[in-house]
């Protein structure tokens, strides 16, 4: 599965599962509240039945009115009686001294049942019965809801993956087609470019065409094609390619590449100012190093002014390439590393260069810095020493 496919699938799954979860959570909360009320009402009803028994006992006490009255007790609940002014008279529950029915519906995690006593036996106008909420049933209810959510979650995740794959199938198919086309085209380009470059070398060595301007132009165009081919190959086959990290002499490779690009620079009458420290070594894949150097140099040539300068500076800390070209605006610098984005569309190229540089810099945990002044200069620096 391609990265972009994975991203799309993950995004789809996230949105799908999150919205499904929210919907189920909302339904679960509503169901829980409804069922809780139902359970508590049942428990309250049972207290109501008990209240009738207590009232009978209070009436008996009132009628006998013995010297010592024993308030009725029960292990199942606590109770208290209140006078017509709602003040506490007596009871086994002593925490509520003044009755306020509105505030007592869920008093201290307890069920409270209040009923009127008429007539006022023992002066009691209200009878309060209370007991702690039986949490077992609520816990059972919670467990059922959690279980349902879990099963629904698993089911909808599987369904989401299936749907996601179904939705991205057309996109996947077109991307596969496009990739196959690029791979085939890239592969087919290799042979003619190689042939052209080999024949140019043969022609250059002959007396007849050696110094020909036309041949020089063909060489430059072929090298440009060759470099684009290399970039395309790098981007297309990068995920299939195993990097071979070697201890490479960057100084000598850089010198070779400057020589390779000199013919392209000559056509724009660019002057190279080269400052390369000798024997700078890096642990890097050869192809990656070539991509960095080639893209930095080709950009410096491509976006330079006629008769401009290119400064190349290599130290044990960094590689810096400066050109005196069109420059890049600040806003463009932020987005310039994105694939196919070019600062100025007037020049050739496919904008692949900076994307490749960026990928390599991220891979090796280097730092890429771009400083630019419009119409003056652009400095691209890759630092490996922090």
């Amino acid at each position: 599965m391609l990265k972009s496919e994975k991203k799309s699938l993950i995004r789809f799954l996230l949105i799908y599962l999150l919205s499904t979860f929210l919907l189920f959570a909302l339904a679960g909360i509503m169901f829980y509240n409804y069922e809780t009320e139902h359970i508590l009402d049942k428990q309250k009803d049972r207290l109501g039945h008990q209240a009738q028994k207590i009232k009978t006992q209070i009436r008996t006490l009132h009628n006998t009115f013995d010297k010592a009255l024993v308030y009725p007790r029960s292990e199942l609940f606590e109770s208290a009686i209140y006078d017509s002014d709602k003040n506490y008279i007596m009871g086994t529950y002593t925490k509520i001294k003044v009755l306020n029915e509105e505030k007592l519906d869920r008093h201290a995690n307890r069920i409270v049942h209040i009923s009127k006593v008429e007539p006022y036996y023992l002066g009691a106008a209200y009878l309060l019965l209370t007991k702690e909420i039986d949490g077992t049933l609520l816990w059972e209810l919670q467990k059922s809801i959690y279980m349902f959510m879990l099963i629904a979650g698993v089911f909808f995740s599987i369904l989401g993956i299936f749907l996601g794959r179904l939705f991205i199938a057309p996109m996947r198919s077109s991307m596969e087609k496009m990739n196959r086309f690029i791979e085939d085209t890239t592969h087919e380009l290799n042979t003619p470019i190689g042939t052209i470059l080999a024949n140019i070398e043969i022609l250059e060595s002959s007396d007849k065409y050696g110094a020909s301007k036309e041949l020089n132009r063909i060489e430059i165009a072929s090298k440009t094609l060759s470099r684009i081919y290399d970039d395309l190959t790098y981007l297309t086959f990068n995920h299939k390619y195993n990097k071979c990290i070697e201890y490479l002499n960057v100084s000598s490779i850089l010198e070779e590449r400057i020589a390779y690009f000199s013919s392209m620079a000559d056509i724009k009458q660019l002057a190279f100012e080269v400052n390369i420290e000798e024997n700078i070594y890096l642990d890097i894949d050869n192809n990656d190093l070539l991509r960095i150097i080639d893209n930095l140099l080709s950009n410096a040539i491509k976006y330079n002014k006629l008769g401009g300068e290119i400064d190349v500076c290599l130290t044990n800390r960094s590689l810096r390439v400066r050109d005196t070209g069109i420059g890049i605006s600040k806003t463009d610098i932020e987005v310039i590393s994105q694939r196919f984005k070019r600062a100025n569309d007037s020049e050739g190229g496919f904008g692949l260069g900076l994307d490749i540089i960026n990928q390599i810099v991220i891979y090796y945990e280097y730092v890429l810095e771009i400083h630019s002044t419009l119409e003056e200069e652009t400095i691209m620096e890759i630092r490996w020493e922090r």
Binding site: F65, K67, L69, S84, T92, P119
Partner: protein, 120 residues
């Protein structure tokens, strides 16, 4: 010095209060209960009846006060047969405050809250 004055004041107030209780009790005995005793008035029954109808001592005091000032069957919560057995009381000649105090003291003799036992 301040503490001593406060202490003396508190002792004096307590003594006055005790004296008032004693005097209320004496007046109740002389002005009310002596007669109740001789006529065998069922005090507890009256208390229970008023308690059942009025619930609180405050309301009971008000109701009994009205009856005492104007003794009439309409102003009593007792059943009519009660008055066949026990004669209608004469109008009280006590002043309002004393009468209210007497009723209060009378009710406190049967106070339901004090009757409960075995409760924390």
């Amino acid at each position: 010095m301040g503490k001593i004055i406060l202490l003396v004041f508190l002792v004096f107030a307590e003594l006055m209060s005790s004296e008032t209780d004693v005097s209320n009790s004496e007046i109740l005995q002389n002005k009310c209960l002596s007669c109740h005793l001789s006529q065998q008035i069922p005090d507890e029954l009256i208390y229970r009846r008023y308690l059942m109808v009025y619930s609180t001592h405050e309301h009971m005091i008000n109701a009994i006060f009205v009856y005492m000032k104007n003794p009439d069957k309409k102003n009593s919560v007792m059943h009519h047969p009660f008055f066949f057995k026990f004669p209608m009381k004469k109008k009280s000649n006590l002043d309002d405050t004393t009468l209210r105090n007497m009723i209060q003291a009378y009710l406190m003799r049967f106070d339901v809250k004090n009757k409960f036992t075995d409760i924390d």
